[in-house]
Symmetry: C2
Subunit: 354 residues, 2 copies
């Protein structure tokens, strides 16, 4: 049954900000220290230029073309350093030692993983170039969004991080203080200005995503860019000067003209599209005695409506409907975001509450 | 008694992410809609160039010199638009219509508030210039940090926001994608590149601030830049690819070599120093069966130690000690951050739990 599948999915997410069971190692100290060892090894590769320069030659590389990951039927296309030097550096004027970003390690002893982007040269039609690179290397350039919906969780995590880092580098080529060129460190965790010495670190923007509730109803809204009939919770960037609660209150007032309080944090998620964000999932209740009339901001939203818990439960039960719009959940009149997105978990957690 | 003062302070903050009582208006709808009206009026001033251009002439301006706010004995030095034109624009080659950032409005009908920065001209000794500007305008340039510890909460909120915005503009004069000049919109809520059309919005970085606990003990740590004997919770920027829980786990492992789980969000706060951050306050428990041996990262921390709840309570009770290091709480061997900082609230909330 559809409901059971969703409940199983939800059990993977936490109602509170807790860590997944797989992080709980056995109680032996030797095993315990492996997580610290791994984190500190990663810290070393991020901060120590020499250590990273050596590690890069033992590393494996996820290849992006125009910021699109190259995939095979098995998942991410991984290339070793010699492969990269032989098949990429020479053909595409791309230097893995200079252009790669460090992504992760599987364990303290495991090989480090990097990512490198091959941008299409001037005068080349981007799509044509992506096809050529894919054919040359034995993969296929896919949009990150598509990859996120078909690959397993750990591959998605690697690609999302790599994409965020590569995109940040492509947009931080110049110093925002003085306009001169910036240069990447080996790991890709900072860029420095050659002229005024300003240092830049990869950025991620806090975004509040909020499900407004009132008793047995919640507010679902759709942005014009959503797939047809897809609705989600309200979302907006946190601005300087705001706590998370203030962001939630402002964004709800701006977008649907409602007043909320009793704001509770639920869970968080990194989201790399369109740019790197830390999505902070919250519930907010309509303020007692305030108007429940939705007045949408037409510049932001196409529509917003109150939906009952029963209506959502029926929609989540409708197994057949899920197949109508691949990736989305629900139907026939409303779909909610796919299970990969925190918006799905905010909505289904609330809908499935007893 | 010191403990009562702290409990009173804490009652102003929430154990959960709730909104302060003063936001709960009376139950009349007319009053209810005022918050939405205010937010939407602010949104209009942020997004509508013409509306903001008109409003600016009715506005009041907080003046910064070299990003230091000008204060009087009564608090922030506010200047009207005619005052700014007369006494600032002419003398300091500073155009309020071009350089000011919108900060807030007191209500939907109230005058809008802006902030403007006067940087010291080349060849001028900054301190000398700040003194001169202060004398000319009838105020005194103070460091933001000092202002944050002496002014009431609402003034601090205005100055912190203004500082974050003005600092962001001073550091976003050029396009990070192509290196060409960027221009501010009227309200200061975006900058656009004249050459490649890239748009930049004011940024704020998510930071996890975490109190690690284990039964009756918690970890307090000090960074070398802290005032002598001041200790606080662990803090670090969230990186691309991380959820908040992952940031907490990585940062605790990196900084003190401990493994944590059962991570709970407590509360959040905007903090403008050194640059705009959304501080996300969390508790994390030492993982069952993992080592409690602290191994600090010497590059980040000077010291870290387990402190018992009783030790903290005694320190918070020691009223006299508070006066020894102005602004800080505690003594004689450990001080914790002032009540304005979320670090204080994480520590005291936990210490005062029954």
């Amino acid at each position: 049954m559809r409901l059971q599948v969703l409940q199983k999915c939800l059990s993977k997410w936490k109602y509170c900000l807790q860590v997944s069971a797989k992080m709980t190692y056995s109680s032996q100290f030797r095993s315990m220290s492996r997580m610290v060892d791994r984190v500190r090894y990663m810290q070393k590769l991020k901060e120590n230029e020499g250590a990273c320069q050596s590690a890069i030659k033992e590393g494996y590389f996820a290849i992006f073309c125009n910021l699109k990951p190259l995939l095979t039927r098995e998942g991410i296309l991984w290339k070793s350093y010699p492969d990269v030097v032989r098949s990429i550096a020479l053909s595409y004027n791309c230097d893995p030692l200079k252009d790669a970003v460090f992504v992760t390690v599987d364990g303290p002893g495991g090989p480090p993983k990097f990512a490198v982007n091959i941008p299409s040269p001037k005068g080349f039609e981007p799509k044509e170039f992506e096809t050529k690179v894919g054919e040359d290397l034995g993969g296929r350039a896919s949009s990150l969004r598509k990859a996120m919906f078909i690959l397993p969780e750990d591959s998605v995590a690697v690609l999302s991080l790599a994409y965020s880092m590569l995109q940040w580098h492509s947009k931080t080529q110049f110093c925002s203080c003085c306009g001169k060129t910036t240069v990447k460190d080996v790991a890709g965790y900072k860029r420095s200005c050659l002229s005024c010495s300003e240092i830049f670190y990869p950025t991620t923007q806090p975004v509040a995503i909020t499900l407004v509730t009132n008793g047995n109803r919640c507010v679902l809204a759709r942005q014009p860019r959503f797939p047809p009939q897809m609705y989600s919770a309200l979302a907006g960037y946190s601005e300087p000067g705001e706590s998370l609660a203030k962001t939630v209150q402002r964004e709800v007032a701006e977008e649907v003209g409602l007043e909320v309080d009793r704001i509770h944090f639920h869970d968080s998620q990194h989201w790399s599209l369109p740019t790197s964000s830390l999505m902070l999932g919250c519930y907010a209740e309509l303020m007692d005695g305030s108007s429940d009339e939705i007045k949408i901001d037409k510049a932001e939203l196409e529509e917003a409506r109150w939906v009952s818990r029963e209506e959502l439960q029926a929609l989540l039960e409708d197994e057949e409907a899920t197949t109508r719009v691949p990736g989305l959940v629900g139907g026939p009149n409303i779909y909610i975001p796919p299970v990969q997105a925190i918006g799905n978990h905010l909505i289904t957690s609330w809908a499935l509450q007893k």
